[in-house]
């Protein structure tokens, strides 16, 4: 893999005296589903935010598709094909589901300094939005206000919004957070579909999902990478087991089911 889609080199981010990202390096080749796991406070969301440009690193670089994007603002990264879903659902609450998605399509369809035509009547934006909604199984809820959607539906809508930006890389920050068993299962099925098409970086607490989906797993502890390997190897990794302590049980148990 001469040219990984995403390459992170020696990334450092401090908050006061705390090292949230500690000299972190990471490579994600095209087509991979790369999971990032770690105990609470390991710096997973901090990492994602630096990848998408919401947060700037103190040092280190981020390369995306061969380009140095370390200092680019998030809207520029989005234009290059980097899409994120938020851990805490972050949608336009007073907009309908389809408006949320259509805006994402609009953002990648030329500039929006168009003041006269009715944007909700632009056929290709609506069609693109509808396609993305269909993809995540929300087509029937297109005209419902986001604030009236269920939590699970909002998580799916997050994905549809990311898809509508025609991304090369999907950064998914805990897409399963707060979902029930059936909803989680649906999300896993959906992610299995999406991974055929997109390179995905997945931050997730649901170990079962992670081990079922990931090609490779990076384990973060206190902002440091302590392991980066295929799921099977991670499962047997001594340091990972130790780091997880309480969660160790979960890792091995699910490992047993899958393996």
């Amino acid at each position: 893999m001469a040219d990984p889609l995403l390459r992170v080199d020696n990334l450092v981010r401090r908050f006061g005296g705390i090292l949230a990202t500690d000299n972190l390096s990471l490579e994600v080749p095209r087509g991979e589903l790369h999971a990032i796991i770690g105990p609470n406070g390991a710096g997973k969301t901090t990492l994602i935010s630096q990848l998408t440009g919401q947060l700037m690193p103190n040092s280190g670089t981020v390369h995306f598709a061969g380009r140095d994007i370390t200092r680019l603002p998030s809207y520029r990264r989005s234009a290059l094909g980097l899409a994120r879903s938020f851990q805490i659902t972050s949608l336009l609450k007073d907009f309908t589901a389809i408006d949320n998605v259509a805006l994402a399509a609009q953002a990648h369809d030329g500039h929006s300094f168009r003041f006269w035509g009715d944007a909700r009547k632009e056929r290709h934006l609506r069609d693109a939005a509808r396609a993305a909604l269909e993809r995540v199984g929300l087509a029937a809820r297109a005209d419902v206000l986001v604030s009236e959607l269920s939590h699970g539906e909002q998580r799916e809508l997050e994905l549809a919004v990311a898809l509508a930006t025609k991304p090369q890389l999907l950064l998914l920050d805990e897409p399963m957070a707060g979902l029930g068993v059936t909803e989680s299962a649906r999300m896993v099925t959906l992610l299995k579909e999406l991974r055929k098409e997109f390179t995905i970086v997945l931050v997730e607490h649901d170990m079962e999902a992670v081990f079922a989906l990931a090609d490779r797993i990076t384990v973060l502890v206190y902002g440091r990478v302590i392991a980066c390997d295929a799921p099977d190897a991670i499962r047997r990794h001594e340091e990972v087991k130790r780091a997880y302590l309480g969660e160790q049980h979960a890792v091995t148990r699910h490992g047993g089911q899958i393996g």
């Binding site: 899409a83 336009l92 007073d94 805006l103 953002a107 003041f115």
Partner: protein
Amino acid sequence: MKSKLNASNAVVAVVCAALVLLPIYSAATGNIFILTLLTRIIIFALAASSLNLIMGYGGMMSFGHAAYLGIGGYAVGILAAEDIGSGFIQWPVALAVSALFALVIGSLSLRTRGVYFIMITLAFAQMAYYVASALSRYGGDDGLTIYKRSTFDGLINLSDRTQFYYLCLGCLFGGIYLIWRIVNSRFGLVVQGVRSNEQRMQAIGFPAYRYRLTCFVIAGTICGLAGALLANNTDFVSPAVMYWTRSGDLMVMVILGGMGSLFGPLIGAIVYLVLEELLSQFTEYWALIMGPLLLLIVLFARGGIMGLLGRVRRG
């Protein structure tokens, strides 16, 4: 906009029809006072509508919006004082200077949020107020009398009460139509999206600042037009039109009528200024009645009068 038959649409339709027909009534009954009052109301409704564009749709709580009333007014007044009476020069200058002022204020204030934004817009408006007070050549504190209204090569006579009224009404309807188009355009959706969740809009690829700034300038320019009308209406412009209480009045009109509703500011301006007129006939403490009324609206009718009348459709 889906046309729905509900109370708010019915009220808007009746009000608009009444505004169009008012000069006929005024001529028939010889009631000039009502025409004068409504001309003033319409001008303030235009100013409030422009504020609604940034405040209601854009989520930008500008507390300095009256500055543009003054800037538009002074552009007309100063040019008139320098013997440039043509509206074809005065008005474009009024709009351009307002736009420029909005660009400067906006590019600085829009880097801040919340209370800071309110305070910076307020500070700039107060600055404009004091600058105008210091213009001794143009009346300073006492204001500037405009001896001749803008001329438009015989196209329209602003000194004719009815013609001027219809000009103001045309500007108001034109302004509201423009805002309606903007709100539903690509640009308008982006601005409303940023009001709802700026981080999200950045993440899906919108440089939010540029869109907010453009919206801020558009609103300032429309309000500058209201300023040019106002100066012609009163034949006078003074620093007082820019004072912060004036900005407050505009905010009250928007909130009273319904933030983020297209005709809300018009309804708000009518209710506010008519109440002010009526109440001040009974007591000079009319604000004592207006205050609690506003409080009730804010507490119990978040969508203002339009919200009370029917479900407000944003856009």
